[in-house]
């Protein structure tokens, strides 16, 4: 029976008539007010901050209020697109849960407002004391690297510490290192001109990349074939010809078998392999044993399918592209992720698609200028390795110092090696494995400074919170990551005046530096810094701020590949891995864990992004949580056959248990997932009590939903130290009590 709106019930009763008589005047005033606000509109080009793509957008304001955003068509990364978050997060500017000025924690979850001066002074004193007592390496900086990364580094290095962590160990590490080992860097993809696209453990339609999506869309219009390899029917599969439902953690077997077929049938790009690859013979010898029949056992994909896929790829080569990956299978999700990336690199070699139309290539980057060291001294050199062993030949030689292993911070804090931390644009307590342990570790720190704009899980245990101005209120340094097909510069600039007592990061760094005796390294303005960056490009800051994104000339051109490996070739046998005595040729490696096939309750827990949420940090914004509510999209996917065995009906609540965590969630029974695993969207489980706004509006705010990190043990991959985020075995049971 259709629901009757509350108004009508009122209306039905006599009281209702009265209510109706009054109601309008209340609401009408509100409406009239909205109408009367200044309608004068302005457009400001800037960079979105709702996720880490930093898409270039034109933000429209009506009077002093942000109204809407439109994509900047020329921008390499988003090609004019804007996603739901890009639109919805504009409203986050007005989220009542925002921090209104510097805070000092005076008790568990108790904060008091303080002045910037006091904050800078106290942080300065405490930091110096810690530096005195425990040495500079006891200080670390954790960041989600963005344009201003260079400034953060300058600050930390000035303090004499090399402990600069990124989120890499929880995100992309094997992907980056794997490609670096194989071709010397992280390639881009000419998806638009591909004749065949394979997405393997990468879902640009959920873990958005708007530029890639536009290119895929065009490629499809031009008749490109597309295959998606994923344990679940992800959003990208809606764009594809075929979905291969692979057993989680076994892509390596698939890719090795594809190489096997291509080599056995002599379908590889002979000239390319001859000229531009190293170690083909050894690779060929290695993959001889990886027959399609063997791979069928591992992956659950039929040998016939594998042979067909190999032939198709070879047939369209070199205009084919197997996605270079990100966080999914080729990211930090499995123990064999590094081998997988290497294998995909070698397969790409066989297909000869490097620097070819429709294949892989290195994007041109603009060469930014620097401040003149004569007037602006560079900070002294710091150790070339980090406290977690990154860059240390005896521990994690392949993990670049400056990335490090973020989720090792709690360990190091517990061991007393790290004492003071600055956490910028990162929320490790929610985004790192096993929150209980992360909290224990971070609580051990003598000083924790957060720059968050809300009291996130991490900010709530910080000693000081120095709120950075929100991305719509803030200036930043020149940004080059829109350089995809051409070298582009872009910039973030304030769209509106800061609503509260907040500052752009640069001002905060400057303020802290002054109280840390490193002020000399920040004797410049952000404007001077940016002008210096732009100088060699003959682009004025004024023009950049007017146009938002500017092409600086150089474009990518197909042609003979220039690879940056030691051998200058695509290394099927990695010289670097060989030097460290690690498997230099891609070889099959079992996943760390496997569900028990005999136990109906045993599953692998896998996770992934949804297009309308960023990590676990947008769930307090009603314009986005409403999308979850409407579609009931926080549910955990499970295959009908497995669900039946557990007596689950669609929407029933399940209890999920791992060695480290317990939680409840409602199920979504779908054919679109491999029976071995359950799938948990990764945007939920925010638990900071300060996320109140989203809670008032549908499926969001604190306490809504669960996160894979709640179930993920603290692993460190032996080679790269990454989290291995999908190596989780959980026990699933039907639950009687409710869950998200």
């Amino acid at each position: 029976m259709p629901t009757i709106s509350r108004r009508k019930f009122l209306a039905a009763s006599a009281v209702g008539t009265a209510a109706l008589a009054v109601g309008p005047y209340v609401s009408f005033d509100a409406w009239a007010k909205a109408q009367n606000e200044s309608q004068e509109t302005k457009v400001t080009p800037t960079l979105c901050g709702a996720c880490d793509n930093w898409c270039a957008i034109n933000v429209h304001t009506k009077g002093d209020r942000v109204w809407k955003a439109e994509g900047i068509p020329g921008a390499g990364k988003n090609l004019g697109g804007v996603c739901a978050k890009g639109h919805g997060f504009l409203h986050e500017l007005y989220n009542p849960d925002r921090i209104r000025g510097p805070l000092k924690r005076v008790g568990p979850d108790k904060f008091e407002a303080i002045s910037w001066e006091q904050a800078f002074k106290e942080i300065g004193e405490k930091t110096l004391a810690i530096k005195e007592k425990h040495g500079p390496q006891s200080i670390f900086w954790l960041t989600h690297p963005q344009a201003n990364h260079s400034l953060n580094g300058r600050f930390l290095h000035a303090l004499g510490s090399s402990n600069m962590f990124s989120h890499g160990s929880t995100c992309f590490m094997p992907r980056n290192v794997g490609w670096w080992l194989t071709v010397g860097g992280k390639p881009e993809m000419d998806l638009e001109h591909s004749r065949m696209i394979v997405l393997l453990g990468r879902n640009p339609a959920g873990g958005l990349n708007l530029g890639s999506l536009r290119e895929i869309s065009r490629a499809r219009s031009n008749g490109a074939r597309m295959v998606v390899v994923d344990p679940r029917f992800n959003e990208s599969a809606s764009l594809a010809d075929r979905w291969l439902r692979i057993r989680p953690g076994t892509d390596l077997a698939l890719v090795l078998a594809l190489s096997h077929v291509i080599i056995e049938e002599g379908r590889w790009q002979k000239e390319f392999v001859e000229k531009y690859t190293e170690g083909f013979a050894e690779f060929a010898a290695e993959v001889k044993k990886y027959t399609p029949a063997w791979a069928q056992e591992k992956t659950g994909i039929s040998a016939a399918e594998i042979v067909q896929l190999a032939r198709e790829l070879a047939g369209y080569a070199p205009r084919v592209c197997v996605h270079r990956g990100y966080h999914g299978a080729m990211g930090t999700q499995y123990k064999n992720s590094l081998q997988l990336v290497r294998a995909v690199g070698c397969l790409s070699g066989l297909l000869g698609n490097f620097n070819q139309p429709g294949g892989l290539y290195f994007p041109p980057k603009p060469k930014l200028g620097k401040l003149d060291p004569k007037d602006y001294p560079k900070p002294p050199e710091v150790p070339d390795h980090m406290s977690d062993g990154s860059g240390d030949p005896d521990r994690y030689p392949l993990v670049p110092a400056g990335n490090g292993i973020a989720h090792a911070i709690p360990e190091l804090a517990l061991k007393g090696e790290l004492k003071a931390g600055f956490v910028y644009h990162s929320n490790p307590i929610r985004t790192n494995p096993n929150p209980a342990r992360v909290i224990a570790g971070y609580k051990k720190l003598e000083l924790l400074v957060s720059f968050d704009y809300v009291l996130s899980e991490t900010a709530t245990i910080a000693h000081y919170i120095l709120p950075e101005a929100f991305y719509l209120e803030s200036d930043d340094v020149v940004y080059t990551s829109h350089s995809v097909r051409s070298a582009q510069v872009s910039i973030r600039q304030p769209v509106v005046k800061p609503l509260y007592d907040t500052k752009p990061l640069f001002e905060i760094l400057k303020g802290m530096a002054g109280n840390l005796g490193i002020g000399e390294y920040f004797k410049f303005t952000l404007e001077e810094y940016n002008r210096a960056s732009l100088a060699p490009l003959h682009v004025t800051l004024e023009r950049l701020k007017k146009e938002g994104v500017i092409d600086t000339g150089s474009r990518w051109e197909p042609g003979p590949p220039k690879l940056k490996t030691p051998s200058g070739k695509l290394e099927m046998v990695s010289s670097i891995l060989k030097d460290y005595g690690l498997p230099a040729i891609p070889t099959w490696e079992e996943p760390l864990v496997m569900p028990d096939p005999k136990d109906p309750h045993s599953f692998r827990l896998i996770h992934g992004k949804q297009a309308h949420h960023t990590h676990a940090r947008t769930g307090n914004q009603p314009y986005l949580t409403e999308i979850t509510t409407l579609n009931d999209w926080a549910r955990v996917w499970i295959h009908p056959d497995r669900a039946k065995l557990l007596g689950l009906r669609d929407g029933d609540c399940m209890s999920i248990t791992s060695t480290v965590g317990k939680g409840r969630a409602r199920c979504r029974i779908t054919e679109g997932i491999h029976p071995d695993c359950i799938f948990l969207p990764s945007g939920y489980g925010m638990f900071s009590r300060h996320f109140k706004f989203g809670k008032k509006h549908g499926q969001g705010g604190y306490g809504f939903g669960i996160s894979y990190n709640d179930f993920l043990p603290t692993y460190f991959d032996p080679v790269l130290g990454h989290t291995m985020g999908n190596e989780i075995i959980v026990r699933v049971e039907k639950s009687t009590t409710r869950g998200a």
Binding site: S27, G71, G88, G206, R220, S236, S238, I627, E671, G672
Partner: protein, 180 residues
Amino acid sequence: MPHYGIAIDTTKCIGCHACRVACQNQNGLAYDQEFNRIVERERGRYPSFAKEFIPLQCNHCENAPCQRVCPTGATYTTKEGVVLVNPKTCVGCKYCVEACPYKMRMIDHHKGIVVKCVMCIDLVRQGGIPACVSTCPTQVRIFGDLDDPNSEISRFVATHRAQPLRADLDTRPRIFYKRS
């Protein structure tokens, strides 16, 4: 005078909801008000399992039931073939809401009137295209003049034999679908 319409290619929709929020901002809607909606449909068993996301919005029917029943004439069709509601004359009787076979009308209890997709006519008259069209990462929607046989939309509708929803209802929608 052009007659505007939108062609929707569901085979390219990834259900990202960018169009929903773009529309909300363009039209100043609250987080729980919507002019467009995405429905998700699954069918088949692996390996022939498939999923379809279907974006829905007002169809700007040429023969619009909502307009026929509107007592005040608040619902009208512009010369460009866009069905609009005049906020100054709508009384909020909601007859049109019942009459719309596609349920694409929404009651704004604050303004006390009925609202719906306006095909971003303001933007369009300034030479732009609707917000839901420009924001779409996979370019699911094609906006244009249905009267011009050479417009991208006309050619798309022709080549793919795109069909309106429930043509049998004789509402003659101006939104055409290429379905998977």
